[in-house]
Structure formats: C-alpha cells, structure tokens
Amino acid sequence: MDEGVRRPSAVVIEALERQLEVAQRISHIGSWEWNATTNIVEWSAELYRIYGLDPGTPITFDTFITSVHPDDRLRVRTQIDGARQIGGRYAHTKRIVLPDGSVREVDSAGEFFIDANGEPFRLVGTCRDVTEERAKERAVQRSRQFQGSERGALELLAAGNPLHDVLAMLVRGIEELEPRMTASLLLLDGPGKRFVRCIAPSMPDEFSRAIEGVEVGPVAGSCGTAAFRREPVFVADIATDPLWVAYKHLVAPHGLLACWSSPITATDGRVLGTFAVYYRVSRLPESEERELIARATHVAGIAIERRQLDDQLRALSARIEAVREQDRTAIAREIHDELGQALTALKMDVAWVQRRLPTPEPQITEKLGEITRATDEIIQSVRRISAELRPGILDDLGLVAAIEWQAEEFSRRSGIPCDLTATIGEIQLERELATGVFRVFQESLTNVVRHANATRVDVKLSLHHGKLTLVIADDGIGVGTLTPQSSLGLLGMRERAWRLDGACTVRQRDGGRGTVVTLTVPLRFPHRDLPA
C-alpha cells in the first residue's frame, strides 16, 4: 500500500453507501447527479421511491421533466436553465405526478459544477418529499382560520343576533377554507321529522326552498339520512349513491358531486338539524375535514340549543308577566269598585248630615269637614293604588289615552310639565304589547321623579316600519349618576322590551343635560327568527 494516500476499502464504501441510503429513507431526502457529457442521470434509491419508480429505471432529463406537474413544469425548467447559464445553485418547491396519478410535493435544490472552460459538466442535487409536512401545515392554518369563524359565530350568538346570522357565519367559515366546498345547514322541526329551514348563503334561494319541507328517512340524501340515523353520512358520489336517487336533481345543476352530512345534536340527544359540506370533486373527507365539520356541527348545536332555551325562557317570562297583569287587573277592579263605591256612599252620608244640622254647630261642622277631607284622601289613595295596579283606561281606551292620562297625572303630582306627541293613530295593539309599553313609560316617569331633578319631560310615541317607538326625554342630571335602585328599574325596562322582542336603551341626551329612554318594539311579537 502506498504511504500517505489511504483509499477506503470496498467494504467501507459499501458500508457508507448503506448508511447514506438509510439516512435518505428516514429523512425522505433523495439525491441525484447528472453528467452533462454523457447525459446520464443517477438517482438514489430514496429518489426512486419518492417518484414512485422502480429502482434502476433509466432516467434522462426528459423523464424527469415529464414527471413534474404540468402547472409547475415551465417554472422548473426556466430555473434550471438559468442556473446552468451562470453556474451555481437553485432551489424550488414543485409538485410531481407519480405513475399512479397521485401528486406529491417536493423541495428540490441543485448545484452546477463548471469545468475549466466555463461549461457545466455536472449537476448535483437533493429532493425532499414534503407532502405530509405541507398538508399538516395547511391543516393547522385552516384550523386557525376556522377558529376565527367559530369565535365570530359565538360572539354573534352572545350579542343576541338572529340565529340565522350565527349559523350563516359557520357555513361561510367552512366555505372560505376551500373554494371547492359549499356548505349548508338544515334545521329540523320540533319532532325532528322534517327540515324547516335551510341556511345556504352560497346557494340560490330555490335550492333552499326545495330542501325546506323534506322529511328525514332511511333513504333521504345525505342530510335526511344522517338525521334519521343520528350519525354522519358521507357520500362520495351523489350521482351514483342510492341515498340520493330522489334528490340528486336538486344539486346536480350546481356542480356538486360529493356531500358529507353530520347530524347536529342537542345535549339531551335530540337531533336539531344537519351540517353538510358539498364538494365539487367526487371524494370522501379526510380526517382533517371531518374534524372541521365536527367543530362546525358542535358550535351550531350550541347556538341552536341556546336560542331555543332563550325562546322558552322568553315565553315563560311573558306568561308569568301576563298572569301577573291579570291578577293586578282583578285586584285593581276590586279595590276601585268595592272601596270606591263604599267611600263615595260614606262621603254622601257625611254631606247629608251636614245639610241636616238644625243649628250651626261650629265644632260639629269642623269635625264633619275633617271627616270629608279624610275620606277624600282615602278616595284619592284608592284611585291611585288601583290605577297603578292596572289603569282601566289602558284596557278601555287604549295605549295613547292611557299614556296621555298618565302624563297628566304625572304633571299634576310632580309639577313637572310633560309634553306628549303621539302619532300612531287608531291602531289596535295586543294587550301584552300595550301593557309593556305603558309599564316602561310608568317606570321612566318614576325614574324622572326619583332621580332626574328635571324641569320638563318630552314624550314621543311613533310608528315606523311596523315598529312602535316610545321616547322619553328629560332635562335632568342624566344617566351618569345611576344609583343601584335606578339601574334595577332600567333592568326591568330592558326585560320588558326583551319579552316583547324589542329593545330599550337609556342614554345621555345629545349635547345637553338629561336622559333619553328609547323603547322600540315590533308590532308582531314574539318574533322568532327561526322555529323552535
């Protein structure tokens, strides 16, 4: 053996090659070398695996470039040519198409070696399969993006927006993740037999109308079947799937090929509806997509159930309030009739005695005067208590007359002028509505007397676009100094508005002293944006 130059033995080389091959397999990195002189390309075993080719298949530049995805081919060729002109390195990401038609994503890098004449004679490079990695990155990114939609939907729900808006946000949130996806959310009726509402903002209205009324069953498209089976139904090809025989004509015109539907269930197990994703390619969802659909379904379930509970609570609250008003009406009547008449008779008798006193008796006259005054006070109290319990005028003459009367009473007792402008005409209001508006008016005036220190009150009652609006504005100290007691009163007003499906706001008067209470209620109530 020569001294100084020690060549590795064949055994060592073989060992090193094996080591390299294992390293490449583990890291999914393949390597290659192209000899410009011989135009022979050598690939490592891992590179053959990445490209889905049998090891030892002869490779030329042409076999390489034809395996690049057609959309990426020009870019790759241009980049390699550029590097060849000036020598040096290049790096890019591209998609390759395997012989079985599947597509993989790879990161490639290469370097040209130039000979003494400045001609490239060798190109060496590596190629890493990043398909799974990128898919995971995209999944994480989509998951984060959908989180935004989930949060948005829950915020809309918490802020009391219509259920339709909440659910539409989830539907759009799914659609925004992938342009080939279209989503729809179907709501079931109470017994869970029939779809009553279709929320599909990206689909034409006639699609929704065609779905509404469809009954659930063992063979009822993806959604009707999913609701019936209480489990997800994923159909890869609507055109051939037996579940879709009766319904495929509804989606075919829209280019939708696959439909994956999941039931939306309440905490007690009731099926509330279904969440469906349509795909423009015939395929089944991957686990990441299933996960997203499950999330959308979960949030939709929370929203629907919460709104149903809201509606139940509101109905119950309205019922309690109606019973309370009935009781108050009965008590008011009783007090007014029984006590009122008896006191009047008593007063008449005192007057009778006064008239019949044979000779003027100053002491008796004075005492009788006192009795008359005391009786008057009791009569006034009885009238006030009775009217506060339930003003008969509200039932007999309607809201405007009742508010007019209450405003006059208020001015008479408090000495604060109260100006009323009513422009609602002669409309018949439901008892519950008239009572609610009147009670808010009473509560507002009570607040004015107790807290506002006002010198005048302006009241406006108007009707716009089917909504009744009552505005009570005073020129007092304003709402900046609310006491716990007055804020309880405000809470009561808001609750009344909520029961009537309206809103009540209390704010500082624009550009000046005072408070403005605004009550807005729809004439039709309780308005439910969706059937419960």
Binding site: H336, D337, G340, Q341, A342, L343, T344, A345, K347, M348, D349, A351, W352, D376, I379, R383, A387, P391, G392, I393, D396, L397, A401, W405
Partner: protein, 133 residues
C-alpha cells in the same frame, strides 16, 4: 225598579216635570243619589243596574235625563254612552262615575255632562237642570 213611578203629586209639578232615570250598579251610591236628586226637586222615575234595563225603562217612561255610571258590569266603558244615546236620543245624558280619567273621552263619545262621583255628587241635580233649561 222596573215600572215607572212618580212620588210627587201632579199639582206640585211646575211646568213639565224633570224626569230622570238613574243607572248605577252600586246600590249604596244609587239609593243616596236618588234621595239627593229628589231632595233637589227632580222626578226620579226609575232605577236600573244595566244598560239593557235602562233602555227598557226609557221606552215606557221617556225620561228627560239619564244619570249613569259608565262602570257597569259586563258593559265596557264608552259603549254605555253610545248605547244609551242611540236608544234614548232625546234624554240628556249625565255621566256620574268614579272613573275620572274618562271625563274627556265620555264627553267626546256624546255624554252631555260628566261628574265625579266622589266630589261632585252635590252638583248632579244642578247639572241636569242646567242641561234641560
């Protein structure tokens, strides 16, 4: 109640007698009012507790005035006035009631007078006479 009656001898009447029907469901107040009106010289020829009974009475007695409380059981508010006005158009209609918030509405509905039961009972006779003068 029921049939017309007059307790004053004909000779005592000056000109045409002021015949009145009192319609009020509250018996304590009605009896006292009737005495008071008679004391004041009015000829109370009938008493009733409902609009229907009052209309029947009026058909046979043709009163010159009707004093009525609009708070009659089973007869909502202002329809008392319109029903009596329609049935007995020639009689002066005086509302005598504890429902003081209805004053304006009653007058608008056709009542000729309105008196508060608890504070103006001494003025009923004068009001009736004033309307017929």
């Amino acid at each position: 109640m029921g049939a017309c009656r007059t307790d004053r001898p004909l000779a005592a009447r000056s000109n045409r007698p002021v015949t009145v029907i009192v319609v009020d469901a509250a018996v304590a107040v009605r009896t006292r009012l009737v005495s008071r009106l008679r004391e004041a010289g009015l000829d109370v020829i009938g008493e009733a507790t409902s609009v229907r009974a009052a209309l029947e009475l009026a058909r046979t007695c043709a009163p010159r005035a009707i004093v009525v409380d609009i708070e009659l059981p089973g007869h909502p508010g202002l329809s008392v006035i319109s029903d009596l006005k329609l049935g007995v158009p020639d009689a002066a209609l005086v509302v005598f009631t504890n429902a003081s918030p209805y004053r304006r509405a009653c007058l608008a509905a056709g009542a000729d007078g309105f008196l508060d039961k608890s504070s103006e009972f001494d003025s009923v006779a004068a009001a009736v006479l004033g309307l017929l003068a």
